[in-house]
């Protein structure tokens, strides 16, 4: 996501952290969660579940901000997010790279 | 919810339709949904005046499909409910009558029969919906239908219809006709404390995870929870199991449909009611119901004066049909005479139970007026000869 300018209080904002759980035997492989995750945390897995669908897998767990949209948009009750303790403001963190948490 | 003062105990000079409404109120009915249709409308009119006074709900729906569904919904809301209609409206109710049977929903339908098919004779009597009552909804089921022949019986049978519907959990039908509905006679409404009421059995257990809303008791009738009591039940018109979950298999169908039929068959002795007049030693028995039962009296008296030993079996319940009694009589009499205001419906039941042991003679009439007692008399003499 691109900002045309940085919010003034960005350094003071705490970004929530989420933990995604996938109940992959329920997944029917619609890909809604994968494509509509605003932080692209998920990817379609190469493996199959017992019904023959490719469930999502968590490719970038550290990027999850617990927005919960995957949970809302999943038609099959196959994914949910728990909000963890928030991360400190980004200024206090090491600069983020795309590689974090990626496979 | 119901109070003794809500029952209009005493002697009244009222018509059959009004008596039916009062019977419902005496039974504890506090919800009526209907659609105006001649010749049943006085039931709705009476209810629209009475229910708001006694804490009940009256609603005129947009059609009879809606009326039937609304009373089923109200019943699940925990209130005894009823509708009243006539031929065309009865046809429209058939699908959701089936929903009531499948979901085991207590409720009462009063059908004040008129001439058909189609719009037919809105203001004139017939008794041509008796087989529709039995077989009108699709699928296999057993039903309960009562046939009053006077305003007093409109009161009594409507009240009994509520007790049977609560007892056996299904919509129970009262099959009246235009003449009985519009006939004004003395009706005695007993004191409230003298009226025996049966209320649906409630689950004995509080709500819990494993609650089975359709698990029957020994009488094959499941106890019934109402919506909003925390049982979180699922109720569906689909074939279902004891949990209420839809199960689309032959095995589930067999189990459920057998029980729905058996709960009526197994308890038929409790349900069936007949009034017998001089059947002991009779050569001929007139099997009749509703207004035709009363028309028969004149013919029966005339035949008796002519020396024919003739009695009457008046069917107070049409369904379940009193098979045992008709079978027993068939072995003793020369024949049955069956006058009905249709071209032959209950006569097939009589014939089936007679099973060739005696003659069965239909006196058909397509409706619009009562039989000429002379026609019934002629049939009695013919069978007696």
């Amino acid at each position: 996501m691109k900002y045309w300018r940085e919010p003034l209080d960005r350094g003071r904002c705490e970004v929530p952290k989420g933990k995604v759980t996938i109940i992959d035997k329920r997944c029917k492989g619609c890909r809604f969660c994968v494509e509509f995750c605003p932080r692209k945390v998920l990817e379609v897995s190469k493996g199959f579940n017992e019904k023959g669908y490719h469930p999502p897998e968590i490719a970038r767990p550290d990027d999850c901000i617990a927005c919960g949209f995957c949970e809302l948009v999943c038609p099959d009750f196959a994914i949910f997010v728990d909000q963890q303790a928030s991360c400190p403001p980004p200024a206090a963190k090491a600069p983020k790279t795309q590689e974090v948490g990626a496979h | 919810m119901s109070r003794a003062s809500d029952v209009l105990s005493g002697e009244h000079f009222i018509n059959g339709n009004t008596a039916s409404a009062e019977g419902a109120i005496a039974a504890g009915c506090r919800f009526f949904a209907g659609y105006p249709i001649t010749p049943s409308t006085e039931v709705a009119e009476r209810m629209s005046r009475r229910l708001p006074q006694i804490g009940g709900t009256f609603i005129q729906m947009e059609d009879e499909l809606a009326s039937m569904c609304a009373i089923l919904g109200a019943s699940w809301g925990g209130v005894k409910s009823m509708t009243a209609t006539s031929g065309p409206g009865f046809s429209l109710m058939m699908e959701n009558f089936g929903l009531g049977v499948m979901t085991e929903t207590p409720s009462v339908i009063v059908n004040v029969m008129r001439g058909g098919p189609s719009t037919g004779l809105p203001t004139l009597a017939a008794q041509a919906d008796v087989m529709q009552a039995r077989w009108g909804t699709h699928g296999s089921c057993d039903v309960i239908a009562l046939a009053p022949s006077s305003p007093q019986e409109m009161f009594d049978f409507t009240l009994r219809a509520f007790n049977l519907s609560e007892r056996y959990r299904l919509p129970v039908m009262v099959l009246s006709d235009e003449i009985v509905g519009h006939m004004t006679e003395k009706v005695v409404i007993p004191p409230a404390e003298g009226i025996e009421l049966f209320d649906r059995r409630k689950p004995s257990e509080p709500p819990s995870e494993g609650y089975l809303p359709f698990e029957p008791g020994p009488d094959l009738v499941p106890p019934m929870a109402n919506a909003g009591e925390g049982y979180h039940m699922h109720v569906t018109g689909l074939t279902h199991d004891e949990r209420g979950y839809p199960i689309i298999t032959a095995a589930a169908q067999t189990k459920l449909v057998r029980r729905l039929c058996e709960k009526i068959r197994q308890n038929s002795r409790d349900i069936i009611a007949c009034t017998e007049m001089e059947t002991d030693g009779a050569e001929v028995v007139v099997v009749s119901y509703g207004i035709s039962a009363r028309t028969s009296w004149k013919a029966i008296r005339a035949a008796q004066r002519g020396g024919v030993k003739v009695g009457q079996l008046k069917l107070d319940t049409l369904w379940p049909f009193p098979e045992e009694r008709v079978r027993a009589l068939a072995g003793k009499v020369r024949g049955f005479v069956v006058p009905e205001l249709n071209m032959g419906q209950m006569v097939y039941e009589v014939e089936r139970c007679a099973a060739g042991q005696c003659r069965t003679r239909l006196v058909p009439h397509p409706g619009g007026e009562t039989h000429d007692p002379a026609d019934i008399l002629a049939a009695i003499r013919e069978v007696a000869a």
């Binding site: 496979h103 | 729906m61 809606a66």
Partner: protein, 311 residues
Amino acid sequence: MTEGHDEHDLQHHNGSSSVHRDRSGTVALHERHHRETGEHPLDHLLRPGRIPHIWCTGCGLGVVLTAYLNGIQKAGVDLDKVAIVSGIGCTGRIAGYINLDSFHTTHGRALPFATGLKLANPELKVSVISGDGDLFAIGGNHLIHAARRNVDMLVLCVNNFNYGMTGGQVAPTTPVTARTQTSPYGCWEHPFNLPYVAAASGAVYVARWTVLHARRLVESVAEAVRHPGFSFIEVISQCPTNFDRPNKGGEGIDLMHFYEKKTVVKNGIDPKEADIGLYTPIVCGKFVDQSKPTYDSCYTNMCTMARGGKK
């Protein structure tokens, strides 16, 4: 992770398993229960053993069910007093999955059943969830009358533009030119604009969202449940198997992208401006939000009058 996962499942979830361990000491801010058990946070509102549901891959109905369950919780009503009534069709099956009092009635008749239920016990919070064919074709008459009476209930109508359960036939919502099993040369009938019909019939709350607007739908459900009177929410959903395939709309995910790009939210507009064509932009939003005495309150007043008049 749920119980019963085999090795294969665990293998391709290696990443998430390690995350699980890493975070085991942290305090979850909500719903600790399911995090520990691996149960979905809505599982307690779903009937045990009924998931997976019958709906196809890419269908929006599961999203609507999720949104409804979140919305009804958000509304803050006593869940023991909630009753869901549905008719027949793919959407009609929603009632069977919800672990609250639920009634799956006959085709088109959910509304009169719900009317009886609500009037018999006004404490109940009644929601009717059914499809466009059920509510506007076979049940159309009931819809306009329930709205006219302003019976206090929520009607959640999932519009997928066709009869999905019977294999994709033309519906009163099918856009002109759309192909279905019974409009093989393209639909030539004018469709209903559902919010316009509901509003014209007297609904006091009217909104439309697509399945992608899940978050707004949750808010809308919560708002409508609390709103006294007849509330109507239309949810546009794809039917990838029966409608979008013959009309070359793509898979479920393609339709979700279509909703992302081609919907316009216009709150407060006159719903008659919200017609829908075949894959033309969809106007969403809350169109009507007004107050009017409900059937229940009018009936209660009338009863007081009737009792007074008698004495």
